[in-house]
């Protein structure tokens, strides 16, 4: 089964399990809306690719790690869109969860998704329970305190913040959890996979800043110009658009170089390159360079 189908099926099974008989119907609908149709699913794809590179000897556990990473990502989007944060009315071209179901169900759907992520790991852990302590710990570090997503969002509430610390916590930490937990789920050492996740996560955040400044809201499915409107730390604001484009290209190359030598290395390097092209296409970067050169004349 190809990884995209595998991830879709595993996410479907996890959400169906949570929706079981007796669940408040509007909460079930809000959770489903948070997870489907979904975006690029890059974090679970990375997680599975690393597990496959190490033999994927416990596919149920690899699936659970991929599902957990994606559910935690979805939870962070739902809470990040809330009126008290970004107040975003749309996400992935559809109404955001709070716009569709109200603020209370958006808070609860995010909470339920965090719980469901850890539940999925636990329930898939019976065959190799000795892998669970490190899996749980690394996954939690990707989203909690002091350096995970919650910490990253909390930097938005501080008077002073370094853009890099903010981006590392808000995006890099869960990407690192994705690659490292892929290795752990297959019984391998997680440490060689940290750098790939961190570089790619930072590249994603810089790409997001570039797109926030430069992209068409119809193309990216959510409002643009929000980071600057909200005064959030932004690479494109701090170093200028071309500085951010250069950072993006450097980070993508660093991610490619960070793929450890293993039997899935070629596939993983190709995945990094195709994702970077999807995020900030080479053509768009060339146009930005040309525009910047014209402005400098």
């Amino acid at each position: 089964m190809d990884p995209t189908t595998r991830i879709a099926q595993a996410l479907g099974a996890a959400v169906r399990g949570a929706e079981g008989a007796g669940c408040p119907p509007r909460l079930a609908a809000a959770v489903r809306h948070s997870v489907f149709p979904g975006g690029a699913r890059i974090r679970p794809k990375l997680c599975l690719a690393v597990a496959l590179a190490h033999g994927d000897d416990d596919p149920a556990l690899s699936d659970a790690a991929a599902v957990a990473v994606e559910l935690l990502h979805c939870a962070s989007l739902v809470h990040d869109d809330l009126p008290c944060f970004d107040d975003a009315a749309t996400r992935r071209g559809l109404p955001s969860v709070h716009a569709a179901y109200g603020e209370r169900l958006a808070v609860l759907a995010g909470d339920a998704l965090i719980v469901l992520a850890f539940q999925a790991l636990g329930e898939a852990g019976s065959a190799h329970p000795q892998r669970l302590p490190a899996l749980l710990s690394l996954m939690a570090r990707g989203v909690g305190m002091p350096h995970g997503i919650a910490a990253g969002q909390a930097w938005e509430c501080e008077p002073q913040v370094k853009v890099r610390d903010y981006q590392q916590a808000k995006t890099g930490a869960l990407f690192a959890a994705a690659t490292m937990c892929g290795a752990l789920a297959a019984g391998a050492d997680a440490r060689p996979w940290r750098a790939l996740g961190e570089c790619l996560g930072e590249a994603y955040q810089v790409a997001d800043d570039i797109r926030d400044v430069a992209a068409d809201p119809v193309l990216i499915g959510k409002p643009v110009g929000r980071d600057i409107a909200l005064g959030r730390p932004s690479a494109a604001r701090e170093r200028g658009l071309m500085g951010a484009v250069n950072d993006f290209e450097r980070l993508v190359e660093a991610a490619v170089d960070a793929v450890p030598d293993c039997r899935g290395a070629t596939h993983l390097r190709a995945l990094v390159r195709s994702e970077s092209e999807r995020l900030v296409p080479a053509e768009m970067r060339a146009e930005m360079r040309a525009g910047s050169a014209r402005a400098a004349v």
Copy 2:
């Protein structure tokens, strides 16, 4: 070490770990405010008492189960106090988390506490990892979907709800997780402990309804009359104050009867009785009965 000190130390260690170097300071402060000084800590006390009744052969894991239950409880309070839910300005006689730190940090503190609960379980699971799958699953069921706390709060967003389903999910589920996870942490069968948790949880929720109607806000540390003001399902509203008092007494007796025969049974039954007296003192119940009898004359 007595259980109260043990719980305080274990909670302190968990929160200190999360606050580590590089944590956004206001998030760290909001999380600490959410957990300390804390309330009666009845859920972790129950959890530890059950683990001790089964020999407590892995104290670190018992402590982690108790910590997880309490952190999940604290998370639910922080989110329940948010402006979109109860909009409570005080909790345990102090400003609520959103009143002290703002709405964004209250959302994030709740999220971080949920993550920290599962992280604590994972990090204490190395000695007996085979206990983790069931522990994670049961703990998650206590707080997630379809029947845990998030589901319980979500019933407040539905047009129709049965008070008992609502109370079972909002309160009973985490009490059941507390007793059952205490057994699991000590390597014992969890099932005989479900009834105790469920009865006690229901008694707590009925007590809360009674106190919401009848108590002094200074005594209980939060505003009263909120359930009725907010149109929330309430036993005291549905069956009248005396009906709720009768329900409370019946549920406390059922909880005492539900303690399985074991070497800690006497202590556990005494704990149930002393907690019920703390919640709705016999003297207060007698006054309510007298008042009700006078009104009927």
